[in-house]
């Protein structure tokens, strides 16, 4: 625990009485490199003992609205049954950064929010002690009650909350946090706070928002990214039955994530009428330069780039060329993976009401503060004139870190003359106007010595640039596995210009790179005639922390080979890895691991591949190490199972194809998430280690894809070097 930093706590009486505690606390040191500001938490205790805790981050299905208040409530020492949760308003000045991304909420909030709860408890305890004229350290709390055992006196929190609010704030280093053995809420299974509303169909999501006199809008954009509108048959659309308004939007010239693009808005009383009218739209587009681009073209261009040296080096250790010459075996392989969509089940939407030069939004966004900036910039108004209400999201997976739908809704409400507008995309809009996981191409070379040891590895990564810079989420970190574990290693990069917008998809970069490196390592193990587990353990070597930057710690990048070894050994144990030779023909297990988002995961997939090439997912085992404490085990298992199945779905059934600068796929028959009849049992085990608890939204996903491909190789002898899995390759 870091108590050395300057910090302060403030309390003020809440409106309507009770205790309002505002705690402004420093970040945990281990997360200091993450660009997150201070954190603030609000607690309100009513005279009847009901404790209202504001949850500061947006809820996208990761369970944060339950988890963050758990941290406060446990240290405050109140029973969970007395807690009511409120979504906090967007107010970074009070709450610090409020977003859902990067599996950051756990490491950033674990200590500060517990401290906030402990500060509240200390103030309540002191208030009671003073009213009794006894020393605070002779009192104790339990489940929302303060006791002075010597005098057999007690008071409920609600009785002293008013008085507590007038007290000075405790010094941060005076706070006593619970030991893990004393947790009553943290580490206990707590159901999600919204589940009753979910299963009874109550209004919860952005798509459910209804305002008085609201119209519903659709927005047709150019199918080619970056295209400009030349003309449209607006009058014909306006005259259609039920259409209240239609107009050309000229946008602010910004490209996708920078603002509003050209298009046509159609407004009606109900969405079906507005969406139906789109079929009659006749728009002439100037498609622009991106219309020249295609997935096939990129593949051909990448193949040519592989004939040249990389345009830049990301890392060069030792001398890989010399080492390859001395190697007993050199193995070469090329890997590629496609663009991917996010496809949250709730299509993009946002409700906006422009009034008197200001706009209010009801936004299902993972990233509300940049959304507010985007709207202000697009509309040319001050950020203080943009009010954002955070709404629970029907999935995000990173898509809702970008806020194009917010800017569009605000723009359409203004151009419609201040009518409240709910903008709702259809599924095709969602698939064809995403910020895609970038495709990528890798030419790998590995050198083994006569004993099968990995002595050299090179990767020439062909990725994308956009507007002259590395495209969003298209990078390869110089410390990516197996960097620093192989003496002679180089990572080189070449880039192709891309007009297609890209962005973070659950476990960005890792969701592709784990497939590449953990599959290639499997190839090397096979060539070395070694067990894939043993080969990996040998590459990891002795337990040690490999610093990405030897000069200073970087908890998001520093790699602990011992933690990885331990999850690998555990997953081998629970999956009965050693006995896998007993499986029937064309059934096999594959193994892989990955470190990302400060989490260590090793996974084993067991598959059976029929003679027709059909893949049955028989079983998955996942072992994770995300530190000393699983905060909400009920949700933690759900997140890992979901991440594992998400990765399997993407590997088996998803790709975005670009042709003539536009996306070919339109709906769920073409980009296919996993379905019930494909789902295997997924066993999840957590190793608890003496490290800061870290997030679970993402790190379980990456290794399942190579574990799947490695299992298919073991079952069929066919090495899959391209995603999604082509089952025609597996037929015999």
């Amino acid at each position: 625990m870091n108590t050395g930093r300057r910090s302060f706590l403030k309390a003020s009486a809440a409106i309507g009485g009770g205790l309002m505690l505002r705690a402004v606390l420093p970040m945990p040191a281990a997360a200091a490199d993450v660009p997150i500001g201070r954190l603030t938490a609000y607690i309100r205790i009513a005279p009847d003992g009901i404790v209202t805790i504001r949850s500061k981050n947006p809820e996208v299905g990761q369970g944060i609205q339950t988890m963050l208040p758990m941290l406060i409530a446990d240290e405050l020492d109140v029973p969970w049954s007395a807690v009511r949760i409120e979504q906090a308003p967007l107010d970074p000045a009070a709450f610090g950064q409020q977003f859902a991304g990067g599996s950051t909420a756990t490491p950033l909030n674990y200590l500060p929010l517990r401290q906030a709860g402990a500060a509240g408890r200390a103030m309540l305890l002191r208030a009671a002690a003073e009213s009794w004229g006894v020393a605070p350290d002779t009192c104790r709390t339990e489940a929302g009650v303060i006791y002075h055992d010597a005098s057999n006196t007690s008071a409920r929190y609600g009785d002293v909350a008013q008085r507590a609010a007038t007290l000075p704030l405790p010094a941060l280093d005076s706070l006593r946090l619970k030991e893990a053995k004393d947790f009553r809420i943290i580490g206990h299974p707590i159901p999600g706070v919204d589940v009753t509303k979910i299963v009874t169909g109550k209004k919860l999501y952005g798509i459910d928002i209804v305002l008085p006199d609201m119209l519903v809008a659709v927005f047709e954009k150019c199918p080619v990214f970056g295209g400009k509108l030349v003309s449209a048959n607006i009058d014909a659309i306006k005259s259609m039955p039920g259409i209240r308004d239609a107009f050309i939007v000229r946008g602010n010239g910004g490209r996708d994530s920078q603002g509003v693009t050209d298009g046509v808005a159609i407004l009606a009383k109900n969405w079906w009428l507005a969406n139906r009218a789109r079929q009659e739209l006749r728009i002439v587009w100037d498609e622009g330069a991106t219309a020249e681009q295609s997935s096939q073209g990129f593949a051909a261009q990448a193949a040519k780039l592989f004939d040249e040296p990389p345009t830049m080096w990301l890392r060069r250790d030792g001398d890989a060329d010399v080492a390859m010459k001395s190697a007993a075996q050199v193995i070469e392989a090329r890997y590629d993976y496609p663009f991917l969509p996010h496809i949250p089940l709730e299509p993009q939407n946002c409700t906006a009401h422009w009034q008197d030069g200001k706009v209010t939004l009801w936004a299902p966004t993972q990233n509300p503060a940049p959304g507010r900036s985007l709207v202000a910039n697009a509309l040319g108004i001050a950020e203080t004139d943009v009010t954002v209400n955070m709404i629970r999201m029907g999935g995000g997976f990173g898509r809702r870190l970008r806020n194009d739908f917010m800017a569009e809704a605000a723009w359409i409400s203004r151009q419609a003359g201040g009518v409240p507008v709910k903008l709702l995309w259809n599924r095709q809009d969602d698939i064809q106007h995403d910020f895609y996981r970038p495709a990528g191409f890798h030419a790998l070379k590995g050198g083994l010595d006569k004993d099968g040891r990995l002595i050299a590895l090179t990767d020439h990564f062909v990725s994308f640039s956009r507007d002259g810079k590395l495209a969003d989420s298209a990078g390869l970190n110089e410390y990516e596995f197996p960097a620093a574990l192989v003496d002679n290693l180089s990572y080189g990069l070449s880039m192709m210009d891309l007009g297609v917008p890209t962005g973070p998809l659950r476990a960005p970069r890792s969701n592709a790179l784990s497939f590449v490196f953990q599959s290639f390592v499997d190839e090397l193990a096979f060539k070395a005639h070694q067990d894939p587990l043993d080969f990996r353990l040998a590459v990891l070597g002795q337990p040690r922390v490999i610093r990405a930057d030897p000069a200073k710690p970087n908890p998001r990048a520093d790699f602990d080979t011992g933690r990885m070894r331990d999850v690998l050994l555990k997953v081998a144990e629970i999956s009965n890895w050693a006995d896998r030779a007993k499986l029937p023909p064309r059934s096999a297990k594959g193994i892989a691991f990955h470190f990302s988002h400060m989490g260590y995961f090793a996974e084993v997939v067991e598959v059976t591949v029929s003679k027709a090439g059909e893949i049955t997912l028989d079983h998955v085992w996942a072992v994770g190490d995300v530190g000393s404490q699983i905060i909400n085990p009920l949700n933690a298992v759900n997140q890992v199972q979901g991440a594992v199945l998400d990765g399997l779905g993407a590997a088996l059934g998803q790709a975005i194809t670009i042709e003539r600068g536009r996306v070919v796929e339109t709906n769920f028959h073409e980009v296919r998430p996993l379905r019930m009849d494909q789902v295997p049992p997924v066993e999840v085990v957590f190793l608890t280690t003496n490290h800061l608890p870290t997030g679970l939204g993402e790190p379980a996903l990456p290794p399942v894809i190579p574990a799947l491909c490695n299992a298919i190789f073991a079952a069929t002898g066919k090495r899959l070097r391209s995603l999604p899995v082509d089952t025609t390759m597996l037929r015999i």
């Binding site: 009753t196 299963v199 299509p347 979901g642």
Partner: protein, 155 residues
Amino acid sequence: MSYTLNINGVTKTVDVDGDMPLLWVLRDELDLTGSKFGCGAGLCGACTLHVDGVAVRGCQTPVSAVGKAQVTTIEGIASVAIGKHLQDAWLALDVPQCGYCQAGQIMSAAALLAERPHPTDADIDAAMTGNICRCATYTRIRAAIKQAANAMATP
């Protein structure tokens, strides 16, 4: 055109085109927003509801086809024992992540249990494979269906 509908036991009249899907009549005309829009093509199951007890996709059911049939949505499913047991099981097992698909999942599961009170895994696969859960909470959905079935069987 005017249509009189029986929704969750309540009579409602709407004046809409006959080919307007029931999903949008519910959501945008009657403000019953529990049934969700996910694909508009009968591919995801988020809009699943019951017409005379049969699970259908609300986005593929024109309002003109409903007639006098009884429409049940997630808002009304607790009025039958199966629905209540399923909701209780969903709560007990903490099934949802984002939760957006779960109304459709429960409606498909309710139709399954009405037909097969003791579903096998193959029955569950057959009945539930039309419902996408993008968060992939399938393991818990399967377990919750079985738990609800057991609760139904235990008086």
